[in-house]
Symmetry: C2
Subunit: 197 residues, 2 copies
Amino acid sequence: MTDDTTRSETEVLIMEATYAALRRHGYADLSVAQIADEFKKSKSLLYYHYDSKDDLIAAFLSFAADQFMADIEAVTAAEEPVATVRTLVDHLLTVESREMRDGQRMIIELRGQAVSEPRFRERFTRVDDRLRERIRSALAAGVERGVFDAEIDPEDTAGMLYAALTGAMVQQHTADGDPTEAVRRMIHRRLDRLVVD
Amino acid sequence: MTDDTTRSETEVLIMEATYAALRRHGYADLSVAQIADEFKKSKSLLYYHYDSKDDLIAAFLSFAADQFMADIEAVTAAEEPVATVRTLVDHLLTVESREMRDGQRMIIELRGQAVSEPRFRERFTRVDDRLRERIRSALAAGVERGVFDAEIDPEDTAGMLYAALTGAMVQQHTADGDPTEAVRRMIHRRLDRLVVD
DNA sequence: GTCTATAGAAAGATAGAC
DNA sequence: GTCTATCTTTCTATAGAC
């Protein structure tokens, strides 16, 4: 279900080295040599496992997407509708550690590349669809159970919320000043009002 | 006010060549040679006018930001509060020509680079601040004149709206499926409700 | 200001041994 | 599967003439 292409032990090590290299250098001027530097074994071994640099990065994006989605599923599993949305919002907008910050920065930078890299775009499409659907289904379930105002359109509302989350993350990492708190407040306030007392 | 560094005729030609090269090749593997190819004069002349490639690109980003903001000001000039926000939303979410699409893609791609390029980040900070402020002041003016519900917090609301706009644009150009219509509908609907009858 | 020519560095990728 | 060594291309940037 998670499209986990089977990854050998070495391949997992390569993915981790790629992660480390991306954290350290960013994507813009990431070289295969830099990835190899984060890797116990040799540079040419990377070419044994992947046909090209682009191939390797595309594989990494799948790897990262798998990890990210598993993380999300774990956090929001088995919560009721309102809590699911709130948790998701807080999870996406919170940067508690340097590791999380670097991880998000990496994603934002790679996302920019998806403009012209079809393989990247494909992975982001997948993640977007799943997150949006997660919000939509929570909203729909809420309406069905009578906890949310029946006036809302779960599809559009989910699209709007997820766009706001994406935009806040992008702005946070590509401009000074942090818009995430305003967005978080607005969404929680909105949820308060949507809940039928 | 617009921080227009004075640009010589040749420099404007270089900016236009850079724009053409970015449209054609994207930022990811843009070379100075490719910029020169869109330019009547020689490659080395680029280095006479700019110290380095990064310098040239940073200058281009200022140039593009100036154009973009002038465009926005022109479209929203002298409109009343509600119309200003509606026009801004439609303007940012509408892609009517190939030129507009390419322009937006270019911005999104460059924005990804702002993660690790301080000079890029600085430019995006400026544009973000101005657009957010434009929305905020329109909302505040609307409240003051009694056309908007006095309950809203113009600052946070502007942050939320602008985040949604940014997110919709980013998603539109970095994933398949177009979330802009949902976001546009939601915002206009929201504005309908905010207007005190 | 503008050109041609090229230096110098770095990158992606492969050859071939073990 | 993994290594070392290296080929080849491409790129940024400069030198030096006009």
